[in-house]
Symmetry: C2
Subunit: 277 residues, 2 copies
Protein backbone atom coordinates (compact mmCIF):
# COMPACT_ATOMS: atom_id res chain seq x y z
CA UNK A 1 0.00 0.00 0.00
CA UNK A 2 1.47 3.31 -1.11
CA UNK A 3 1.01 6.43 1.00
CA UNK A 4 1.17 9.65 -0.99
CA UNK A 5 1.33 13.11 0.51
CA UNK A 6 1.40 15.53 -2.42
CA UNK A 7 -0.80 16.23 -5.43
CA UNK A 8 2.06 16.07 -7.93
CA UNK A 9 3.20 12.67 -6.58
CA UNK A 10 -0.39 11.39 -6.68
CA UNK A 11 -0.69 12.46 -10.34
CA UNK A 12 2.62 10.74 -11.13
CA UNK A 13 1.65 7.51 -9.39
CA UNK A 14 -1.79 7.57 -11.01
CA UNK A 15 -0.12 7.72 -14.40
CA UNK A 16 1.44 4.31 -13.81
CA UNK A 17 -1.52 2.65 -12.07
CA UNK A 18 -3.63 -0.17 -13.46
CA UNK A 19 -7.05 1.14 -14.42
CA UNK A 20 -9.90 1.32 -13.88
CA UNK A 21 -9.39 2.99 -10.51
CA UNK A 22 -12.05 2.92 -7.77
CA UNK A 23 -11.88 5.89 -5.41
CA UNK A 24 -13.17 6.49 -1.89
CA UNK A 25 -12.78 10.06 -0.62
CA UNK A 26 -12.86 10.21 3.20
CA UNK A 27 -12.11 12.58 6.06
CA UNK A 28 -10.40 9.75 7.95
CA UNK A 29 -11.23 8.33 11.38
CA UNK A 30 -12.58 5.40 9.46
CA UNK A 31 -15.34 3.02 10.47
CA UNK A 32 -16.97 -0.02 8.91
CA UNK A 33 -19.05 2.22 6.66
CA UNK A 34 -15.92 3.53 4.95
CA UNK A 35 -14.37 0.07 4.80
CA UNK A 36 -17.46 -1.28 3.03
CA UNK A 37 -16.92 1.40 0.36
CA UNK A 38 -13.23 0.49 0.01
CA UNK A 39 -14.02 -3.20 -0.32
CA UNK A 40 -16.55 -2.49 -3.04
CA UNK A 41 -14.10 -0.16 -4.85
CA UNK A 42 -11.45 -2.88 -4.73
CA UNK A 43 -13.87 -5.54 -5.97
CA UNK A 44 -15.15 -3.51 -8.93
CA UNK A 45 -11.85 -2.02 -10.14
CA UNK A 46 -8.24 -2.93 -10.86
CA UNK A 47 -7.00 -0.55 -8.14
CA UNK A 48 -8.47 1.20 -5.11
CA UNK A 49 -7.42 4.69 -4.03
CA UNK A 50 -8.60 6.19 -0.72
CA UNK A 51 -8.07 9.82 0.23
CA UNK A 52 -7.92 11.02 3.82
CA UNK A 53 -8.46 14.76 3.96
CA UNK A 54 -10.33 16.79 6.55
CA UNK A 55 -11.44 19.45 4.08
CA UNK A 56 -11.41 22.84 5.81
CA UNK A 57 -13.62 24.55 3.22
CA UNK A 58 -16.67 22.47 4.10
CA UNK A 59 -16.60 23.52 7.75
CA UNK A 60 -18.25 26.75 8.86
CA UNK A 61 -16.35 29.24 11.02
CA UNK A 62 -18.11 27.98 14.17
CA UNK A 63 -17.88 24.29 13.30
CA UNK A 64 -15.72 21.46 14.59
CA UNK A 65 -12.80 21.51 12.10
CA UNK A 66 -10.08 21.53 14.76
CA UNK A 67 -11.89 19.03 16.96
CA UNK A 68 -12.72 16.68 14.06
CA UNK A 69 -11.34 13.29 15.15
CA UNK A 70 -8.13 12.10 13.50
CA UNK A 71 -6.17 8.83 13.80
CA UNK A 72 -4.04 8.23 10.71
CA UNK A 73 -2.10 5.14 11.98
CA UNK A 74 -5.38 3.36 12.80
CA UNK A 75 -6.87 4.43 9.43
CA UNK A 76 -3.84 3.09 7.54
CA UNK A 77 -4.02 -0.27 9.29
CA UNK A 78 -7.71 -0.59 8.40
CA UNK A 79 -7.10 0.44 4.79
CA UNK A 80 -4.20 -1.98 4.33
CA UNK A 81 -6.38 -4.81 5.61
CA UNK A 82 -9.16 -3.80 3.20
CA UNK A 83 -6.83 -4.14 0.21
CA UNK A 84 -6.27 -0.46 -0.57
CA UNK A 85 -3.57 0.18 -3.19
CA UNK A 86 -2.94 3.88 -2.61
CA UNK A 87 -3.77 6.23 0.27
CA UNK A 88 -3.68 9.90 -0.64
CA UNK A 89 -3.19 12.31 2.27
CA UNK A 90 -2.70 15.78 0.77
CA UNK A 91 -1.60 18.72 2.94
CA UNK A 92 -3.79 21.85 3.17
CA UNK A 93 -1.14 24.02 1.50
CA UNK A 94 -1.21 21.75 -1.53
CA UNK A 95 -5.01 21.63 -1.79
CA UNK A 96 -5.62 25.31 -1.08
CA UNK A 97 -2.47 27.31 -1.77
CA UNK A 98 -2.31 31.00 -0.83
CA UNK A 99 -4.68 33.03 -3.00
CA UNK A 100 -6.85 30.01 -3.81
CA UNK A 101 -10.30 31.07 -4.96
CA UNK A 102 -11.90 28.69 -7.43
CA UNK A 103 -15.18 27.21 -6.23
CA UNK A 104 -17.75 24.77 -7.55
CA UNK A 105 -21.14 26.02 -6.55
CA UNK A 106 -24.50 24.31 -6.99
CA UNK A 107 -27.68 26.32 -6.66
CA UNK A 108 -31.06 25.27 -5.19
CA UNK A 109 -30.28 21.69 -4.14
CA UNK A 110 -27.62 23.01 -1.76
CA UNK A 111 -29.92 25.57 -0.18
CA UNK A 112 -32.06 23.00 1.65
CA UNK A 113 -31.56 20.69 4.67
CA UNK A 114 -27.83 20.45 5.45
CA UNK A 115 -27.13 23.33 3.07
CA UNK A 116 -29.58 25.57 4.93
CA UNK A 117 -28.11 24.54 8.30
CA UNK A 118 -24.50 24.88 7.11
CA UNK A 119 -24.10 27.72 4.59
CA UNK A 120 -21.16 27.10 2.26
CA UNK A 121 -20.82 23.46 3.34
CA UNK A 122 -21.69 21.98 -0.05
CA UNK A 123 -19.59 24.50 -1.91
CA UNK A 124 -16.64 23.09 0.03
CA UNK A 125 -17.75 19.49 -0.57
CA UNK A 126 -18.29 19.99 -4.32
CA UNK A 127 -15.00 21.85 -4.72
CA UNK A 128 -12.87 19.31 -2.88
CA UNK A 129 -14.51 16.37 -4.67
CA UNK A 130 -14.02 18.08 -8.03
CA UNK A 131 -10.32 18.54 -7.22
CA UNK A 132 -9.90 14.98 -5.92
CA UNK A 133 -11.63 13.52 -8.99
CA UNK A 134 -9.26 15.47 -11.25
CA UNK A 135 -6.22 14.34 -9.26
CA UNK A 136 -7.15 10.65 -8.90
CA UNK A 137 -9.05 10.24 -12.21
CA UNK A 138 -11.18 7.34 -11.01
CA UNK A 139 -13.62 5.37 -13.16
CA UNK A 140 -15.91 5.16 -10.14
CA UNK A 141 -16.12 6.98 -6.82
CA UNK A 142 -17.94 5.47 -3.85
CA UNK A 143 -20.14 7.34 -1.36
CA UNK A 144 -22.40 6.25 1.47
CA UNK A 145 -26.16 6.79 1.34
CA UNK A 146 -25.94 8.13 4.92
CA UNK A 147 -24.98 11.55 3.57
CA UNK A 148 -27.92 11.60 1.18
CA UNK A 149 -27.77 15.25 0.20
CA UNK A 150 -24.00 15.06 -0.36
CA UNK A 151 -24.59 12.18 -2.76
CA UNK A 152 -27.16 14.22 -4.70
CA UNK A 153 -24.83 17.22 -4.90
CA UNK A 154 -21.87 15.14 -6.12
CA UNK A 155 -23.99 13.27 -8.66
CA UNK A 156 -25.40 16.52 -10.00
CA UNK A 157 -21.95 18.13 -10.22
CA UNK A 158 -20.49 15.15 -12.08
CA UNK A 159 -23.42 15.06 -14.50
CA UNK A 160 -23.62 18.81 -15.13
CA UNK A 161 -19.86 19.40 -15.47
CA UNK A 162 -19.65 16.31 -17.74
CA UNK A 163 -16.98 14.70 -15.54
CA UNK A 164 -15.74 11.30 -16.61
CA UNK A 165 -16.62 9.01 -13.71
CA UNK A 166 -19.55 7.18 -12.17
CA UNK A 167 -20.78 7.85 -8.64
CA UNK A 168 -21.66 4.65 -6.81
CA UNK A 169 -23.94 4.99 -3.81
CA UNK A 170 -23.60 2.31 -1.12
CA UNK A 171 -26.05 1.45 1.67
CA UNK A 172 -25.68 3.01 5.10
CA UNK A 173 -23.77 0.67 7.43
CA UNK A 174 -25.32 0.47 10.92
CA UNK A 175 -24.32 -0.62 14.40
CA UNK A 176 -26.21 -3.69 15.67
CA UNK A 177 -28.76 -1.39 17.38
CA UNK A 178 -29.38 0.51 14.13
CA UNK A 179 -27.30 3.66 14.70
CA UNK A 180 -25.78 4.79 11.38
CA UNK A 181 -21.98 4.59 11.49
CA UNK A 182 -20.32 8.01 11.63
CA UNK A 183 -16.96 9.37 12.73
CA UNK A 184 -18.93 11.81 14.87
CA UNK A 185 -20.42 8.95 16.93
CA UNK A 186 -17.15 8.95 18.87
CA UNK A 187 -18.22 12.28 20.38
CA UNK A 188 -21.17 10.58 22.14
CA UNK A 189 -21.02 9.92 25.88
CA UNK A 190 -22.41 6.52 26.96
CA UNK A 191 -25.93 7.80 27.77
CA UNK A 192 -25.96 9.82 24.54
CA UNK A 193 -24.84 6.78 22.56
CA UNK A 194 -27.85 4.93 23.91
CA UNK A 195 -30.21 7.82 23.17
CA UNK A 196 -28.85 8.07 19.60
CA UNK A 197 -30.83 4.99 18.58
CA UNK A 198 -33.94 7.18 18.37
CA UNK A 199 -32.90 8.37 14.90
CA UNK A 200 -33.12 5.02 13.18
CA UNK A 201 -36.06 3.89 15.29
CA UNK A 202 -38.01 6.96 14.16
CA UNK A 203 -37.09 6.19 10.54
CA UNK A 204 -38.35 2.64 11.02
CA UNK A 205 -41.56 4.15 12.39
CA UNK A 206 -41.88 6.23 9.22
CA UNK A 207 -41.31 3.12 7.10
CA UNK A 208 -43.99 1.24 9.07
CA UNK A 209 -46.55 4.04 8.69
CA UNK A 210 -45.75 4.27 4.97
CA UNK A 211 -46.06 0.49 4.54
CA UNK A 212 -49.47 0.58 6.22
CA UNK A 213 -50.65 3.07 3.58
CA UNK A 214 -50.05 6.46 5.22
CA UNK A 215 -49.16 9.10 2.56
CA UNK A 216 -49.62 12.29 4.59
CA UNK A 217 -46.05 13.51 5.18
CA UNK A 218 -47.17 15.86 7.95
CA UNK A 219 -48.73 13.03 9.94
CA UNK A 220 -45.61 10.87 9.60
CA UNK A 221 -43.38 13.77 10.60
CA UNK A 222 -45.54 14.47 13.67
CA UNK A 223 -45.38 10.87 14.83
CA UNK A 224 -41.61 10.80 14.32
CA UNK A 225 -41.30 14.07 16.24
CA UNK A 226 -43.39 12.79 19.15
CA UNK A 227 -41.36 9.58 19.25
CA UNK A 228 -38.01 11.40 19.33
CA UNK A 229 -39.18 13.95 21.88
CA UNK A 230 -39.69 11.14 24.41
CA UNK A 231 -35.89 10.97 24.50
CA UNK A 232 -34.83 13.89 26.69
CA UNK A 233 -31.23 14.01 25.33
CA UNK A 234 -32.47 14.40 21.75
CA UNK A 235 -33.06 17.78 20.07
CA UNK A 236 -34.56 17.69 16.61
CA UNK A 237 -32.93 20.10 14.14
CA UNK A 238 -35.07 19.00 11.22
CA UNK A 239 -37.10 16.11 9.87
CA UNK A 240 -37.66 16.26 6.13
CA UNK A 241 -39.80 14.20 3.76
CA UNK A 242 -38.82 15.31 0.29
CA UNK A 243 -38.57 14.38 -3.37
CA UNK A 244 -35.45 12.25 -3.56
CA UNK A 245 -33.99 14.20 -6.50
CA UNK A 246 -35.02 17.82 -5.98
CA UNK A 247 -35.28 17.76 -2.18
CA UNK A 248 -38.57 19.66 -2.51
CA UNK A 249 -40.62 18.98 0.63
CA UNK A 250 -43.69 16.81 0.06
CA UNK A 251 -47.07 17.18 1.74
CA UNK A 252 -48.40 14.02 0.18
CA UNK A 253 -45.74 11.36 -0.25
CA UNK A 254 -44.96 10.59 -3.90
CA UNK A 255 -42.23 7.92 -3.83
CA UNK A 256 -39.32 7.67 -4.04
CA UNK A 257 -39.14 10.05 -1.08
CA UNK A 258 -36.16 10.82 1.10
CA UNK A 259 -36.92 10.86 4.81
CA UNK A 260 -33.92 12.60 6.34
CA UNK A 261 -33.17 14.14 9.66
CA UNK A 262 -30.66 15.84 11.89
CA UNK A 263 -31.00 15.27 15.61
CA UNK A 264 -28.55 16.64 18.09
CA UNK A 265 -27.74 14.24 20.90
CA UNK A 266 -25.84 16.47 23.30
CA UNK A 267 -23.47 18.49 21.12
CA UNK A 268 -23.07 16.22 18.05
CA UNK A 269 -25.38 16.65 15.08
CA UNK A 270 -26.34 13.17 13.91
CA UNK A 271 -27.70 12.51 10.42
CA UNK A 272 -29.72 9.61 9.16
CA UNK A 273 -32.15 8.86 6.34
CA UNK A 274 -34.12 6.23 4.49
CA UNK A 275 -35.77 6.22 1.10
CA UNK A 276 -39.45 5.32 0.85
CA UNK A 277 -40.07 3.48 -2.42
CA UNK B 1 -13.21 16.39 -40.63
CA UNK B 2 -15.91 15.09 -38.31
CA UNK B 3 -18.77 17.32 -37.21
CA UNK B 4 -20.28 16.31 -33.88
CA UNK B 5 -23.46 17.73 -32.43
CA UNK B 6 -23.96 16.02 -29.07
CA UNK B 7 -21.92 15.58 -25.89
CA UNK B 8 -22.37 11.81 -25.79
CA UNK B 9 -21.20 11.43 -29.40
CA UNK B 10 -18.22 13.70 -28.69
CA UNK B 11 -17.24 11.54 -25.71
CA UNK B 12 -17.56 8.40 -27.85
CA UNK B 13 -15.47 9.83 -30.68
CA UNK B 14 -12.87 11.13 -28.21
CA UNK B 15 -12.48 7.61 -26.86
CA UNK B 16 -11.21 6.44 -30.27
CA UNK B 17 -9.10 9.48 -31.15
CA UNK B 18 -5.33 9.58 -31.37
CA UNK B 19 -3.88 11.53 -28.46
CA UNK B 20 -2.65 13.93 -27.43
CA UNK B 21 -5.55 16.17 -28.44
CA UNK B 22 -5.19 19.92 -28.91
CA UNK B 23 -8.37 21.87 -28.31
CA UNK B 24 -9.56 25.31 -29.39
CA UNK B 25 -12.84 26.46 -27.84
CA UNK B 26 -14.53 29.18 -29.91
CA UNK B 27 -17.85 30.97 -30.27
CA UNK B 28 -17.63 30.66 -34.05
CA UNK B 29 -17.61 33.41 -36.67
CA UNK B 30 -13.95 32.60 -37.01
CA UNK B 31 -11.15 34.89 -38.07
CA UNK B 32 -7.42 34.51 -38.56
CA UNK B 33 -6.85 34.75 -34.83
CA UNK B 34 -8.83 31.56 -34.26
CA UNK B 35 -7.18 29.85 -37.23
CA UNK B 36 -3.73 30.61 -35.82
CA UNK B 37 -4.80 28.77 -32.63
CA UNK B 38 -6.08 25.80 -34.64
CA UNK B 39 -2.89 25.58 -36.68
CA UNK B 40 -0.80 25.59 -33.52
CA UNK B 41 -3.07 22.96 -31.91
CA UNK B 42 -2.68 20.76 -34.98
CA UNK B 43 1.08 21.23 -35.07
CA UNK B 44 1.63 20.39 -31.39
CA UNK B 45 -0.78 17.44 -31.06
CA UNK B 46 -1.85 14.26 -32.82
CA UNK B 47 -5.40 15.61 -33.29
CA UNK B 48 -7.10 19.00 -33.20
CA UNK B 49 -10.63 19.53 -31.86
CA UNK B 50 -12.43 22.86 -32.24
CA UNK B 51 -15.70 23.68 -30.51
CA UNK B 52 -18.17 26.24 -31.84
CA UNK B 53 -20.55 27.26 -29.09
CA UNK B 54 -22.03 30.67 -28.39
CA UNK B 55 -22.24 30.13 -24.64
CA UNK B 56 -25.40 31.80 -23.32
CA UNK B 57 -24.25 31.81 -19.67
CA UNK B 58 -21.43 34.27 -20.32
CA UNK B 59 -23.77 36.90 -21.76
CA UNK B 60 -25.61 39.32 -19.47
CA UNK B 61 -29.38 39.83 -19.82
CA UNK B 62 -28.83 43.06 -21.77
CA UNK B 63 -25.98 41.77 -23.93
CA UNK B 64 -25.74 40.73 -27.54
CA UNK B 65 -26.38 36.94 -27.31
CA UNK B 66 -29.04 36.87 -30.01
CA UNK B 67 -27.19 39.29 -32.24
CA UNK B 68 -23.83 37.55 -31.82
CA UNK B 69 -22.66 36.84 -35.40
CA UNK B 70 -22.92 33.26 -36.64
CA UNK B 71 -21.85 31.60 -39.92
CA UNK B 72 -21.32 27.87 -39.44
CA UNK B 73 -20.78 26.93 -43.14
CA UNK B 74 -18.02 29.52 -43.46
CA UNK B 75 -16.49 28.41 -40.13
CA UNK B 76 -16.46 24.78 -41.24
CA UNK B 77 -14.74 25.61 -44.50
CA UNK B 78 -12.03 27.55 -42.64
CA UNK B 79 -11.57 24.77 -40.08
CA UNK B 80 -11.30 22.07 -42.73
CA UNK B 81 -8.62 24.06 -44.50
CA UNK B 82 -6.72 24.53 -41.21
CA UNK B 83 -6.53 20.75 -40.70
CA UNK B 84 -9.11 20.37 -37.93
CA UNK B 85 -9.98 16.75 -37.11
CA UNK B 86 -13.19 17.22 -35.16
CA UNK B 87 -15.61 20.16 -34.86
CA UNK B 88 -17.86 19.99 -31.81
CA UNK B 89 -21.08 22.03 -32.05
CA UNK B 90 -23.19 21.15 -29.00
CA UNK B 91 -26.80 22.30 -28.69
CA UNK B 92 -27.87 24.46 -25.71
CA UNK B 93 -30.19 21.76 -24.37
CA UNK B 94 -27.26 19.37 -24.16
CA UNK B 95 -24.92 21.83 -22.46
CA UNK B 96 -27.48 23.32 -20.06
CA UNK B 97 -30.40 20.90 -19.64
CA UNK B 98 -33.49 21.98 -17.68
CA UNK B 99 -32.66 22.43 -14.00
CA UNK B 100 -28.96 22.98 -14.69
CA UNK B 101 -27.26 24.76 -11.81
CA UNK B 102 -23.62 23.85 -11.34
CA UNK B 103 -21.22 26.77 -11.66
CA UNK B 104 -17.49 27.30 -11.49
CA UNK B 105 -16.88 30.57 -9.76
CA UNK B 106 -13.59 32.39 -9.25
CA UNK B 107 -13.36 35.15 -6.70
CA UNK B 108 -11.34 38.40 -6.85
CA UNK B 109 -9.68 38.06 -10.27
CA UNK B 110 -13.15 38.03 -11.89
CA UNK B 111 -14.31 41.12 -10.03
CA UNK B 112 -12.08 43.53 -11.98
CA UNK B 113 -11.99 44.90 -15.55
CA UNK B 114 -14.27 42.78 -17.76
CA UNK B 115 -15.71 41.07 -14.68
CA UNK B 116 -16.69 44.42 -13.17
CA UNK B 117 -18.22 45.56 -16.47
CA UNK B 118 -19.98 42.24 -17.08
CA UNK B 119 -21.15 40.63 -13.80
CA UNK B 120 -21.39 36.84 -14.14
CA UNK B 121 -19.45 36.83 -17.43
CA UNK B 122 -16.48 34.87 -16.11
CA UNK B 123 -18.68 32.47 -14.17
CA UNK B 124 -20.15 31.53 -17.55
CA UNK B 125 -16.72 31.36 -19.20
CA UNK B 126 -15.17 29.23 -16.44
CA UNK B 127 -18.17 26.90 -16.34
CA UNK B 128 -18.36 26.30 -20.08
CA UNK B 129 -14.59 25.78 -20.37
CA UNK B 130 -14.67 23.36 -17.43
CA UNK B 131 -17.41 21.37 -19.18
CA UNK B 132 -15.69 21.46 -22.57
CA UNK B 133 -12.37 20.35 -21.06
CA UNK B 134 -14.13 17.39 -19.40
CA UNK B 135 -15.88 16.47 -22.65
CA UNK B 136 -12.91 16.84 -25.01
CA UNK B 137 -10.13 15.82 -22.56
CA UNK B 138 -7.39 17.72 -24.36
CA UNK B 139 -3.70 17.65 -23.43
CA UNK B 140 -3.55 21.34 -24.36
CA UNK B 141 -6.13 24.05 -24.93
CA UNK B 142 -5.31 27.17 -26.92
CA UNK B 143 -6.45 30.71 -26.13
CA UNK B 144 -5.62 34.11 -27.58
CA UNK B 145 -3.81 36.76 -25.54
CA UNK B 146 -6.41 39.27 -26.80
CA UNK B 147 -8.78 38.15 -24.05
CA UNK B 148 -6.14 38.57 -21.37
CA UNK B 149 -8.39 38.32 -18.33
CA UNK B 150 -10.14 35.27 -19.74
CA UNK B 151 -6.75 33.59 -20.08
CA UNK B 152 -5.92 34.37 -16.44
CA UNK B 153 -9.29 33.03 -15.25
CA UNK B 154 -8.96 29.78 -17.24
CA UNK B 155 -5.35 29.25 -16.15
CA UNK B 156 -6.29 29.80 -12.52
CA UNK B 157 -9.28 27.45 -12.75
CA UNK B 158 -7.21 24.68 -14.35
CA UNK B 159 -4.45 25.08 -11.75
CA UNK B 160 -6.72 25.34 -8.70
CA UNK B 161 -9.11 22.54 -9.70
CA UNK B 162 -6.10 20.36 -10.62
CA UNK B 163 -7.40 19.75 -14.14
CA UNK B 164 -5.24 17.64 -16.41
CA UNK B 165 -4.37 19.93 -19.30
CA UNK B 166 -2.08 22.79 -20.21
CA UNK B 167 -3.35 26.19 -21.29
CA UNK B 168 -1.36 27.62 -24.18
CA UNK B 169 -1.59 31.37 -24.72
CA UNK B 170 -1.02 32.60 -28.29
CA UNK B 171 -0.21 36.13 -29.48
CA UNK B 172 -3.01 38.47 -30.55
CA UNK B 173 -3.43 38.41 -34.33
CA UNK B 174 -3.90 41.88 -35.83
CA UNK B 175 -5.19 43.43 -39.03
CA UNK B 176 -2.49 45.21 -41.12
CA UNK B 177 -3.42 48.51 -39.41
CA UNK B 178 -3.01 46.98 -35.95
CA UNK B 179 -6.66 46.35 -34.98
CA UNK B 180 -6.90 43.15 -32.93
CA UNK B 181 -8.95 40.51 -34.74
CA UNK B 182 -12.36 39.96 -33.15
CA UNK B 183 -15.68 38.56 -34.30
CA UNK B 184 -17.20 41.79 -33.01
CA UNK B 185 -15.23 43.85 -35.55
CA UNK B 186 -17.90 42.91 -38.09
CA UNK B 187 -20.30 45.18 -36.19
CA UNK B 188 -18.19 48.21 -37.11
CA UNK B 189 -19.41 50.61 -39.80
CA UNK B 190 -16.69 51.88 -42.21
CA UNK B 191 -15.94 55.10 -40.27
CA UNK B 192 -15.97 53.16 -36.99
CA UNK B 193 -13.61 50.54 -38.41
CA UNK B 194 -11.17 53.32 -39.21
CA UNK B 195 -11.55 54.89 -35.77
CA UNK B 196 -10.97 51.50 -34.11
CA UNK B 197 -7.25 51.75 -34.80
CA UNK B 198 -6.93 54.12 -31.82
CA UNK B 199 -6.90 51.14 -29.43
CA UNK B 200 -3.67 49.61 -30.66
CA UNK B 201 -2.12 53.00 -31.40
CA UNK B 202 -2.70 54.02 -27.78
CA UNK B 203 -1.12 50.75 -26.61
CA UNK B 204 1.89 51.45 -28.81
CA UNK B 205 2.06 54.89 -27.20
CA UNK B 206 2.12 53.21 -23.77
CA UNK B 207 4.90 50.89 -24.93
CA UNK B 208 6.90 53.87 -26.25
CA UNK B 209 6.54 55.80 -22.99
CA UNK B 210 7.50 52.70 -21.00
CA UNK B 211 10.52 52.06 -23.24
CA UNK B 212 11.66 55.65 -22.69
CA UNK B 213 11.71 55.01 -18.93
CA UNK B 214 8.27 56.20 -17.79
CA UNK B 215 7.06 54.14 -14.81
CA UNK B 216 4.19 56.34 -13.56
CA UNK B 217 1.07 54.41 -14.59
CA UNK B 218 -1.16 57.46 -14.08
CA UNK B 219 0.89 59.52 -16.53
CA UNK B 220 0.81 56.79 -19.17
CA UNK B 221 -2.94 56.32 -18.69
CA UNK B 222 -3.53 60.07 -19.04
CA UNK B 223 -1.56 60.25 -22.28
CA UNK B 224 -3.44 57.23 -23.67
CA UNK B 225 -6.75 58.83 -22.65
CA UNK B 226 -5.88 62.13 -24.33
CA UNK B 227 -4.82 60.32 -27.47
CA UNK B 228 -8.03 58.28 -27.69
CA UNK B 229 -10.26 61.24 -26.89
CA UNK B 230 -9.07 62.94 -30.09
CA UNK B 231 -11.13 60.30 -31.92
CA UNK B 232 -14.74 61.48 -31.61
CA UNK B 233 -16.26 58.02 -32.26
CA UNK B 234 -14.30 56.46 -29.39
CA UNK B 235 -15.65 56.20 -25.82
CA UNK B 236 -13.25 54.84 -23.24
CA UNK B 237 -14.80 52.36 -20.87
CA UNK B 238 -11.58 51.66 -18.99
CA UNK B 239 -7.82 51.74 -19.35
CA UNK B 240 -6.02 49.56 -16.84
CA UNK B 241 -2.37 49.11 -15.97
CA UNK B 242 -2.21 46.19 -13.60
CA UNK B 243 -0.16 43.33 -12.24
CA UNK B 244 -0.33 40.67 -14.92
CA UNK B 245 -1.29 37.90 -12.49
CA UNK B 246 -3.50 39.51 -9.83
CA UNK B 247 -4.91 42.34 -11.99
CA UNK B 248 -4.24 44.70 -9.06
CA UNK B 249 -3.95 48.21 -10.48
CA UNK B 250 -0.44 49.65 -10.33
CA UNK B 251 0.52 53.27 -9.60
CA UNK B 252 4.16 52.65 -10.31
CA UNK B 253 4.71 50.08 -13.05
CA UNK B 254 6.37 46.88 -11.82
CA UNK B 255 6.68 44.63 -14.87
CA UNK B 256 5.30 42.39 -16.19
CA UNK B 257 2.25 44.69 -16.32
CA UNK B 258 -0.90 44.21 -18.32
CA UNK B 259 -2.08 47.33 -20.12
CA UNK B 260 -5.65 46.54 -21.09
CA UNK B 261 -8.59 48.54 -22.28
CA UNK B 262 -12.15 48.57 -23.45
CA UNK B 263 -13.14 51.30 -25.86
CA UNK B 264 -16.55 51.51 -27.41
CA UNK B 265 -16.50 52.53 -31.05
CA UNK B 266 -20.16 53.18 -31.72
CA UNK B 267 -22.02 50.30 -30.09
CA UNK B 268 -19.32 47.55 -30.04
CA UNK B 269 -17.07 47.17 -27.04
CA UNK B 270 -13.57 46.53 -28.35
CA UNK B 271 -10.84 44.97 -26.19
CA UNK B 272 -7.11 45.09 -26.58
CA UNK B 273 -4.01 44.74 -24.44
CA UNK B 274 -0.25 44.46 -24.35
CA UNK B 275 2.14 43.27 -21.68
CA UNK B 276 4.97 45.56 -20.60
CA UNK B 277 7.99 43.44 -19.73
Amino acid sequence: MKIIESISEMKNVRWGMDGPVGFVPTMGYLHEGHISLVQRAKKENASAVVSIYVNPTQFGPKEDLKKYPRDIPRDLAMLEKAGTDVVFIPPDGDMYPTGYNTWVDLEKITERLEGAARPGHFRGVATVCNKLFNIVEPAKAYFGQKDAQQVLVIQKMVRELNMNLDIVVCPTVREPDGLAMSSRNTYLKPDERKAATVLYKSLQLAQKLYDSGERDAGKIRRQMTEFIQKESLAHIEYISIANVNTLDEQEKIAPPSLVSMVVRIGAPRLLDNIILK
